[in-house]
Symmetry: C2
Subunit: 189 residues, 2 copies
Amino acid sequence: MARWQPDAPGRLAAAALDLFEEQGYESTTVIEIAQRAGLTKSTFFRYFPDKREVLFGGGTVTDLLVEGITSAPPTAGALDAVAYALDALGRTFFTGDRREFSGRRQAVLDAHTELREREALKRIDLTASMIEALGRRGVPDLDARVAAQLGTLVWEIAHDRWIRADRGEDFGALARQALAEVRGADALR
Amino acid sequence: MARWQPDAPGRLAAAALDLFEEQGYESTTVIEIAQRAGLTKSTFFRYFPDKREVLFGGGTVTDLLVEGITSAPPTAGALDAVAYALDALGRTFFTGDRREFSGRRQAVLDAHTELREREALKRIDLTASMIEALGRRGVPDLDARVAAQLGTLVWEIAHDRWIRADRGEDFGALARQALAEVRGADALR
């Protein structure tokens, strides 16, 4: 029974999103999500501690961003290292085939305070991971905090435009554009 | 019975903080908090929807920041308007007599995921309120977002230093200093 299931977390997230849209977040149970995904409740709990977590696929984005910052060219400044990481994220995670899912997911998050809270905390943890990764590159703490804070804003702007992009612009290009806009903001003069 | 209670939300927050420290957040009930404050459960629920909310005193900080941004001199740029608001906050809310409470409160928040989540969402709502208030001053959206994002960082740094300030430095002075540091960060070059 406990055999390996290919992409179980992805199937659970997709099933959960369908059910949240069809019958609401509150009235959907973990058992229903597992059944819809063709899996068991215990498989669900192997990947997620609770229902609230199912749309926050276990740290993948954080890992990719940290990896991107770490592997940015040694000469890159703090904000450039973040830009490099966002670009990598666009190539490996926020790809065209994930765009529709990401847009539907965001709409469900936006509509539920419980999920907005979880998302807000994930955002803070993501920022903290970026600060740490920049620190390991030798970036002084204050610079790392400023770069991570602006990087988070760039990410938000780019993600928001990406899920609405009607010409299918790719995430990396949108992130580069948003970064240029943020860097040019009058507020920084 | 339903007579007016002077500073009921403040008394409930103080009682809750004492109890959370004494016996833990999880094992404290709303009834215990109300009793410790010399109030009733129904008075508690007049001010707070649930136990989780009792340490987030109903939007006062947001109101003060928005008011500060609104009343900043018309010539002030986006980030200066935020600085003006932080200064006002230091004069009217983060005063010396609140410092010890704020430090104890932060320690309890940091130790509980549920409370960290609520705090993270409050932070996002606070940033959104700052963006709106800047927008009403005619600041373009992108500038407002950058200023609010950096303003939030300045606030975090200043608050963190303030609750640890062993020479009793005031919040406003710490916020001005943090703002100067953030503005001078290499990451913005």
